[in-house]
Every structure is written in C-alpha cells, then in structure tokens.
C-alpha cells in the first residue's frame, strides 16, 4: 500500500524568512541570557562576600572579554524583552496579520539594537565602567 501524503514539518520545505529568523534569535538570546544569569549570581555572591571579594569580582567583570560578554548580554536582554512582548501579543491572538507581523518584526530588530546601546551607555555612566 502506498504511503498517504502527509504534511511535512515546516523546516523541511519552508524558505528562510524574517519570521523564523526572529524566532530562532529568540531562542539563542534566551540561551545566552541563561548563561548571563550565572554572571548576575556571581556578582551578587561577590557583593555578599564583602568588599575584598567584590573588588576581585569587579576587576574580572570590568576586564575586556567580560565587558564584551556583558554587551552581548545587554543586546540579548533587549532583544528577548522586545520580541518576548511581541510573542505575548501573539499569544493573545494579536498581530498575526502579515503586514503587522512584519512591522513588529522590524520594530523588534531595530529597537533591540537601539535599546541595547542606550542601556549600555546609561549603565556605563552610572556604574562607572565597573560592571
């Protein structure tokens, strides 16, 4: 007996487009933020450990590679935040129209970069480059 025609999984035949780009970026930034969570805990634990321990941690966090990681975390946070709100609106059944989804996708993509830069420079100013 011949196999009946079954629908294929979307990833097997859909072309790459902005919607799945944003979707996979949401997952990637989510994984990155989960790793960033450990930096937050490291920082809090150092603060609880007293000034000396905090000073050592601040030096580590202020070093170049960690600053790069933190900038990445700032971007991941802003992206995941904006796209997360977009997804919450999808969950409520809003914004599925093609034109609207495209518009909100563009807003998220551009907004995340702008917001990340704002967050980065505001925090650099307030934290004195230490974190």
């Amino acid at each position: 007996m011949a196999q009946p025609e079954r629908p294929l999984s979307p990833f097997l035949h859909y072309r790459w487009q902005y919607t799945n780009t944003l979707s996979i970026l949401h997952r990637i930034t989510g994984v990155l933020l989960s790793l960033g969570f450990f930096i937050l805990v490291y920082w809090l634990a150092a603060a609880a450990g007293g000034p000396e321990q905090y000073g050592r941690a601040a030096a580590v966090i202020g070093s170049f590679p960690l600053q790069l990681v933190l900038f990445g975390a700032a971007f991941a946070f802003c992206y995941h935040l904006l796209n997360g709100i977009r997804h919450l609106s999808f969950d409520m059944g809003r914004g599925f129209e093609l034109a609207t989804a495209r518009k909100s996708a563009r807003f998220v993509a551009i907004g995340a970069v702008v917001l990340a830069l704002v967050v980065w420079f505001v925090l650099r100013a307030s934290l004195g480059g230490a974190a």
Partner: protein, 128 residues
C-alpha cells in the same frame, strides 16, 4: 469520547500531560521579568558607581532586596522552562536528553539558591 489511542493512553504520551502548565508558567514568568527587568535597569542606572558600599546600600532596602530575590528566582525559573523546551526540541536521544535536562535544572537551582542567599545576606546586613 477520547481521541487518544489505547497505546498512547498506556504510555502516558500525547498532549494531555503538563504542557499547558509549562506553557502558562513560561508566559507568567515572562510578564514578571518584564517588570523586574525594568526595575533592575532603573536601579543600576541610579547607582552612583558600582562600588561595594553602593550595591550593599541599595540591597539593604527591604523593597529592593525583595525584588532582587524575586528577580533571581523568577529568572532561574524562566530559564529552566525555556532551556527545557530547547533541549527537548534538539536533543533526540532520550537518555542524553534526560541527563542534559537534569544537569540544567541542577545548575539553575544551585545558582538560584546562591543568588538568593547572597541577596538575603546583604538584606539582613550580614555582608560587611
């Protein structure tokens, strides 16, 4: 009338497990993290330098300590829920998947408890 196959029923497979609770918890924690994230950013932005004294003074306030505690717990919970979905989607081998899922849970629970104890220590004024 149930649409589940007898085999599916016996194996406990299918959609009638805890999928909706997981899905819902992911969304509720997301909403909480929008608010907690905003608070965290505004708090850091209003610090006058990330010195030890300033961080301790900030978290010495009961409200800020409570929100920091909630941030740590909620972020860990949200991360655990999200990473679980990612692992379930991409790790096909059942044994390896279970090991990875448990390892992720353990790591996040340890981090959450360490973070919570750190905030409590500062909040109770134990951190010098």
């Amino acid at each position: 009338m149930s649409l589940r196959s007898p085999l599916g029923k016996v194996l406990g497979l299918g959609s009638a497990k805890e999928g909706s609770a997981h899905w819902y918890a992911q969304r509720v924690s997301a909403v909480a993290l929008v608010l907690l994230g905003l608070w965290f950013f505004l708090s850091l932005a209003s610090l006058d330098g990330a010195t030890h004294a300033n961080v301790v003074a900030w978290l010495a306030s009961p409200l800020h300590a409570a929100l920091a505690l909630l941030l740590v717990v909620t972020a860990a919970h949200h991360a655990a829920l999200g990473l679980q979905v990612v692992v379930e989607d991409y790790v096909a081998d059942k044994g390896r998947r279970t090991v990875v899922l448990v390892a992720i849970k353990f790591a996040l629970v340890v981090a959450a408890v360490v973070g919570a104890l750190a905030v409590l220590r500062i909040g109770f004024g134990v951190a010098a």
